[in-house]
């Protein structure tokens, strides 16, 4: 059995990192994150640029505002939770056993990487790959590998970059670290300071029995931690896989392009996370909080699950453009459902069909042009009402053997007038002999009918009509054939369709 091996990840200044993960435009700007209730807000986290400008943790808001060029953001626990889940997901790609050990504003976790050498190579390689994965997700962290859980955890808090501690060298690796990394009880820390103990190496060198006699049995734990010999029972967490990204804005956003800037980054993250699980994004839900307490929610359903960033972003853009939010946006949440990646086997001799993802974008654009309910496939209703149909969304059905009914013989087609044109009809022996619409008079040469239809008497959709097929001549002598309908309920004639 291979010896235990732990990899610790420590992302410091996590509130700032979580906020800047989606705000790439602020990545090179000094940013400080404020926590607390106004007016007693203080800086709880900051990035490197802010530190170089002179900002520091615990600095009051007024003082931080005085630093030129400083961007102040409010802390968001929701964004931090989303970023933390991203970090855990990235870590879960390398080991399913993860224990969260977060401290104050940092996000830390320890991975049990025992036995992963054959999968990912040496621990150092694994750490480099994990760092690259986190960097892609917009997070920065330090890493330490050790055969002792606590040694890895302590080392990663105190150092930057990647540190690999060989087995048996735990005490040496920790010896130069300050006592502050141990989070000792205050009285112990004060006593050790009085004794002149400054580093873990000095603490580890103290004799155990004398230390217990002076500080009590708790001191043994601290000494073992300093020696890198403290045992630990691993308590793995269940890494939850939820595809959700959240961003709240410090000022209400009114421009769609600004939303899409954030949305693009969110889609990137969601697609990358889904891809890491060999999945695709089957649907997206856009959720916005608007000023005035209103909520905006629109689902987006691609024809096929996809991780194509451009395609999903275009769908998002078209959806928001077709249904713009009615007020300024306070926060944007993008959640997704994962689906199996599509794989379609096309036939060599199958007829050409539109590419599903491209068709999605085309139909969204067509809906933006013609209207939401005016693009799709017609479906005949199960009713005797003439001309009744409904529109359904158009999808390309890939089938190896399409149904091949016998082709019908050519029949006279109708061109419907929507809405029907009211006409004045002249009757002779209850048959139309002439009718007039808004523009011209038609002289009827032959009238066939009436064909009486009625139905839905039990609802408001009731109809009771007489239908006439009429051959007529226009004022210029051109023949036309049309359908005249008399609404028997209100005794009104309408020109409903032309034969063509």
């Amino acid at each position: 059995m291979s010896p235990e091996l732990y990899l610790s990840i420590h992302a410091d200044e996590f509130p700032a990192q979580a906020l800047l993960r989606l705000r790439t435009d602020l990545a090179v700007q000094p940013v400080a994150v404020l926590d607390g209730h106004p007016p007693l807000q203080t800086v709880c986290s900051l990035n490197r640029h802010a530190r170089l400008k002179g900002a520091a943790l615990g600095m009051p808001r007024l003082e931080a505002e005085g630093i030129p060029g400083m961007h102040l953001l409010a802390r968001s626990l929701e964004i931090e939770a989303a970023a933390r889940s991203v970090l855990h997901e990235c870590a879960a790609h390398f080991s399913p056993r993860i224990e969260a050990v977060s401290l104050s504003t940092a996000c830390s976790c320890v991975l049990d990487i025992t036995g992963t050498e054959r999968l990912f190579g040496p621990p150092e390689t694994l750490a480099y790959r994990l760092r690259a994965a986190l960097s892609t997700a917009g997070l920065r962290a330090s890493f330490a590998v050790s055969s002792n859980f606590h040694t890895a955890r302590i080392k990663t808090v105190a150092t930057r970059g990647i540190t690999v501690i060989p087995p048996g060298h735990e005490a040496n690796a920790l010896s130069k670290l300050p006592l502050a990394v141990l989070d000792l009880p205050r009285d112990h820390a004060e006593t050790l300071t009085i004794w002149g103990i400054r580093t873990l190496g000095e603490l580890a060198a103290l004799p155990e029995s004398e230390l217990v006699a002076r500080l009590g049995p708790q001191a043994v734990v601290s000494r073992d931690l300093a020696r890198g010999a403290q045992p630990h029972t691993f308590q793995p967490i269940e890494a939850e896989f939820t595809l959700r990204e959240f961003c709240d804005f410090e000022t209400p956003v009114e421009q769609i392009n600004s939303l899409l800037f954030i949305g693009a980054r969110m889609i990137d993250c969601l697609a990358a996370r889904a891809s890491a699980h060999a999945l695709s994004l089957a649907s997206l839900v856009v959720h916005m909080e608007l000023t005035g307490g209103r909520i905006y929610r629109r689902p987006i359903h691609p024809a096929l699950p996809s991780t194509d960033r451009k395609f999903l972003l275009k769908l998002l853009q078209l959806e928001i453009a077709a249904h713009p939010p009615q007020a300024a946006v306070l926060s944007l949440t993008l959640s997704a459902e994962a689906g199996q990646s599509s794989s379609v086997q096309l036939g060599l001799f199958a007829p050409q069909t539109p590419e599903p993802s491209r068709l999605d974008v085309t139909i969204a654009r067509l809906k933006a042009i013609a209207g939401e309910d005016r693009v799709g496939s017609p479906v005949l209703e199960d009713t005797h009402r003439p001309g009744s149909f409904r529109m359904e969304s158009f999808t390309v059905r890939t089938q190896s053997n399409p149904p091949t009914p016998e082709l019908a013989s050519p029949r006279m087609a109708l061109r419907r007038m929507r809405p029907p044109v009211p006409v004045r009809v002249q009757l002779n022996a209850l048959e139309p002999v002439a009718f007039r619409d808004r523009q011209q008079t038609f002289k009827v040469s032959a009238a066939y009918g009436p064909w009486k239809t009625s139905g839905c008497w039990w609802s408001t959709e009731t109809w009771n009509t007489e239908e006439w097929d009429v051959l007529a001549e226009t004022g210029t002598g051109a023949p036309v054939a049309c359908v005249l309908v008399r609404n028997c309920t209100i005794d009104q004639w309408q020109l409903e369709a032309f034969y063509d």
């Binding site: 199958a350 479906v379 109708l414």
Partner: protein
């Protein structure tokens, strides 16, 4: 005495600057066509409507334009192809489409907004052109019908020739048959085929249903411009008798070829 080939080369060489290969025959390419499922029309069109080109079906109301377009779409959807109908005036009757055999699930119908006769006539036309552009660019549609049948010619003629040229290029690239239903030719030189439709005869009044309506088709830009006539079946009474021998009459108008379809086909020279 120089040989014929030497003489040809000499003439071609002298005219080279103005007419490259003046006397050499232009290599002919086989034009891909899609059958309309009306044998007589296919025969006149040398196999059917061209694929990857614009075909115009023109004529007044009651000239069979819509019937012919639906028959063509029925044939295409019957083969499993996907088609689209860009409806400028929201005039398509889905029942007629289904009765002609169009698989409605494979038909994308774009109903341009038409706020009434008093509304701006350019709005639906603009929508239709943009929609057609999008569909042609998207690709994958075997046939696309741009229905300008109810659009006044003075409006249709305002569509720039550059638009038709763009449509032709896009249709050629995506191998889409673009059918334009209009009252008169609009696409000019961009159209590969122009079918001129006209009502052929009025049915006699001694019957109880409207039937035996005949249509006359004339092709231009075709190797065989001989006129052709088609008669469609009756619409009523109910569907059980729709497949009855509807068009059984035959007219003889001198040199015109009279052809009746729908169950019975007769032809004469």
């Amino acid at each position: 005495m120089p040989s014929a080939s030497a003489l040809r080369i000499q003439i071609e060489h002298s005219l080279e600057r103005r007419f490259p290969a003046a006397l050499s025959p232009i290599p002919r390419t086989i034009v891909e066509t899609a059958a309309t499922s009306i044998p007589e029309v296919d025969r006149v069109l040398n196999g059917g409507l061209p694929v990857g080109a614009i075909s115009e079906i023109t004529g007044p109301v009651f000239s069979g334009r819509t019937s012919l377009a639906l028959t063509f779409l029925a044939a295409r959807t019957h083969e499993g192809c996907v088609c689209a109908w860009v409806d400028v005036h929201d005039a398509l009757d889905s029942e007629s489409a289904a009765a002609n055999g169009v698989a409605l699930r494979q038909l994308l119908w774009i109903r341009c907004k038409n706020a009434g006769p008093s509304a701006n006539p350019w709005a639906p036309l603009d929508q239709a052109i943009r929609a057609t552009d999008l569909l042609l660019q998207a690709g994958g549609f075997s046939a696309l019908v741009l229905d300008l049948g109810s659009t006044a010619p003075e409006h249709g003629l305002r569509i720039p020739l550059a638009t038709w040229f763009r449509f032709r290029q896009a249709a050629d690239r995506t191998r889409c048959s673009l059918l334009v239903l209009a009252q008169q030719p609009l696409a000019q030189s961009s159209a590969a085929v122009v079918l001129e439709c006209a009502p052929l005869k009025a049915p006699s009044g001694n019957q109880t249903v409207l039937a035996n309506c005949g249509y006359q088709l004339r092709t231009s830009r075709s190797a065989n411009p001989a006129p052709l006539s088609i008669a469609t079946g009756q619409r009523k009474p109910p569907a059980s008798t729709w497949l009855a021998t509807a068009a059984s009459q035959r007219e003889n108008r001198g040199p015109l070829r009279q052809v009746f379809v729908s169950g019975m086909v007769e032809a004469s020279a």
